[in-house]
Amino acid sequence: MKILVPLKRVADPDNANKIKIPAGGATIDTTGLEWKPNPFDEYALEAALRLTENGATPKTRGGEVIVVTFGPKECETTLRAALATGADRAIRVDAKDDELDGSIVAKALRAIVDKEKPDAVVMGKQAVDGDSNQIGQMLAQHLGWPQATFAATIEEEDGALLVGREVDGGVITLRVKLPALVTVDLRIVAPTSVYSKQTKRDFKYNDGVRFAALPAIMAAKKKPLAELKLAELVSDTALKVQYSRFEAPPSRKAGIKVKDVAELVTRLKNEAKVI
């Protein structure tokens, strides 16, 4: 199986306090931010690797995983990390962050899918920076492919994927015919969440995303990394989404100490008005 995995780098959520908003709130100042791969995209890569191998012998690849990202040269760090983890090759679409919105990225991905002809696109359900949760759905629509969002489990069948989606109060199981698009949720990296046709059903993965082995990190720089121009993929590069203003969340007020339960109840009732 050939799988395309779109990746996005996001500001490290652990260092989110360093995000600065210049006066006026027209932009976000990203200088000095630390970047890391969007966690849901890392889960998508792990799921794609599992779908293209026999879990018992992961060194032998049983398919191809192509990772793609949009952004400046520095984004290649994200792609190299994915190559070190096991992806077979990478594509970077050269673009500045402010040249992109969800609509443009979805259209550009469609052009890449048309060119690469993967059997599936597996991607994170959303990026943890903008939390838009839209690219997967838009891309499936552009492609006319079946989609299964928020996947918690994926099982490969002949010509189809059986996808478990966690919903309120239960699990919906969908069978999507290939080619198909799947967006993944965090439980996709549990030990028994993903099975390729080669992997025996009693096999258990380690929980979480696999470690990049050191020899694979050394070898990653020899794996192919192609560069494409945004304009080659999308004819209309006008932004559909325009950000009008940014503001930081209000800083938290200091808490207070109450002397007894009676006071707590009074304050919850009269001041917080929650009871």
Binding site: A213, L214, M218
Partner: protein
């Protein structure tokens, strides 16, 4: 507190000098240590147990012989290797010692001094963690002065027969192969040769050293050779004299000088976090001048040690690192690391004596690390000789 406190990494700024590849190595090992090793590190120390069940995982990560090329080894730069060891030592020096001994002391001599047949025979299995190695140089009565070793190898036809005792041998109790250094036919230090002895050889025993108060999560043993017959095919012919084992020590010492910063960082971070939360006389102790001075002194020494280690690692990658520079780095960084860990223990107060916090475990481990691979004093003498021209050993 107005702004988020500076981290040690931000203070030294060394992170900005790393390549993508070096950063990936650092993060991979960091994740492994924090997710897989650290839970239970205190318990294993208490139980005096090396987690031998983790060897396949350590090998799968590519940590064994990572600085060597070929034979399934990662072929990492000195910087990447140093960063990896530092992350391992952040977990526990016992874990790092296991990796150092396997790579720098057992695999390296085979890789550097062995024949092609010997390399093919042992190195791939050692890189995969299926064969564990150890290194026998030190003896009960010959530590800093390895030329005074008593272990003898007598030629007997095409074989050698070895007799003697090696002491303080990391990994010995469960090692499958031992690289043992011995004088041949009662010769002087120039006759020293390296022998690869395989588990199962008659007259080869590895009793465990028990009751250590340091490196408890590492297996230490003796190697007792009682007329142990070693075939000619197991002699490392490329090495003659003390230069052979000493070249291995130079490799290992470089790794150690980088690694110990991990123990220092783990202890500093524990102390700094504790100082933010521990309130005394109405204020967190981090807001007290006496504590701040200690935290600053510790952080300053860590930053200096890191800058030195990084500088020498870059020199090593250009094959320009001298043994005297390795001694300087090992001497300085081991000393500052143990002092940082002891200070961290003190800032943690009574809690600091518990294994719940890492400082005392690291401080105890470093008692071994300042002693092995050339004591602080031996490195002083190496540097003294290099700087004055006078041999003061």
């Amino acid at each position: 507190m107005s702004k988020a406190p500076l981290t040690l990494e931000q203070l030294s700024g060394v992170d900005h000098l790393l390549s993508d590849e070096e950063r990936l190595v650092q993060h991979a090992v960091r994740r492994f240590v924090r997710e897989r090793f650290l839970p239970g590190a205190g318990v294993r120390f208490e139980e005096e147990r090396f987690p031998v069940e983790m060897v396949p995982e350590i090998a799968a990560l590519g940590l064994l012989g990572a600085s060597l090329t070929g034979y399934g080894c990662a072929g990492m730069s000195a910087v990447s290797y140093g960063l990896a060891l530092s992350e391992l030592e952040y977990g526990d020096s016992g874990l790092r010692s296991f990796v150092s001994v396997q790579g720098s002391l057992a695999m390296y001599p085979i890789w550097r001094y062995g024949s092609d047949a010997q390399k093919e025979r042992w190195l791939p299995g050692m890189a995969r963690g299926e064969l564990i190695g150890c290194f026998g140089l030190t003896e009960p009565d010959a530590g800093s002065d390895p030329g005074a070793m008593k272990t003898r190898a007598r030629r007997d036809g095409d074989d050698y027969v070895l007799t003697g005792t090696k002491m303080w041998i990391t990994n010995a109790p469960f090692a499958h192969v031992a690289v043992v250094w011995a004088k041949v036919d009662d010769g002087g230090p120039e006759s020293i040769k390296g022998f690869v002895i395989e588990r199962g050889a008659k007259g080869f025993e590895t009793p465990t050293v028990k009751g250590k108060m340091s490196l408890r999560a590492s297996e230490t043993g003796e190697i007792v050779l009682d007329g142990c017959r070693v075939p000619k095919a197991n002699v490392l012919d490329g090495a003659t004299g003390l230069g052979g084992p000493l070249s291995c020590l130079t490799q290992a010492r470089f790794g150690i000088s980088f690694a110990v910063l991990g123990a220092a960082k783990a202890s500093w971070e524990a102390a700094a976090a504790y100082a933010q939360n521990r309130v005394a006389f109405g204020k967190p102790i981090a807001a007290k001048q006496l504590i701040q001075e200690r935290l600053v002194d510790m952080a300053q020494e860590i930053a200096k040690g890191e800058i030195m280690a990084m500088h020498f690692a870059r020199l090593k990658d250009q094959s320009k690192l001298s043994p005297a520079q390795v001694s300087l780095c090992k001497r300085n960084n081991c000393k500052i690391a143990i002092e940082v860990c002891r200070e961290a223990r003190a800032i943690l107060g009574g809690n600091g004596i518990l294994l719940d916090y890492p400082a005392i475990r690291h401080a105890l481990n470093l008692e071994s690390v300042v002693t092995y691979e050339g004591t602080h004093e031996v490195h002083t003498l190496i540097l003294g000789k290099a700087l004055t021209g006078h041999d003061a050993f």
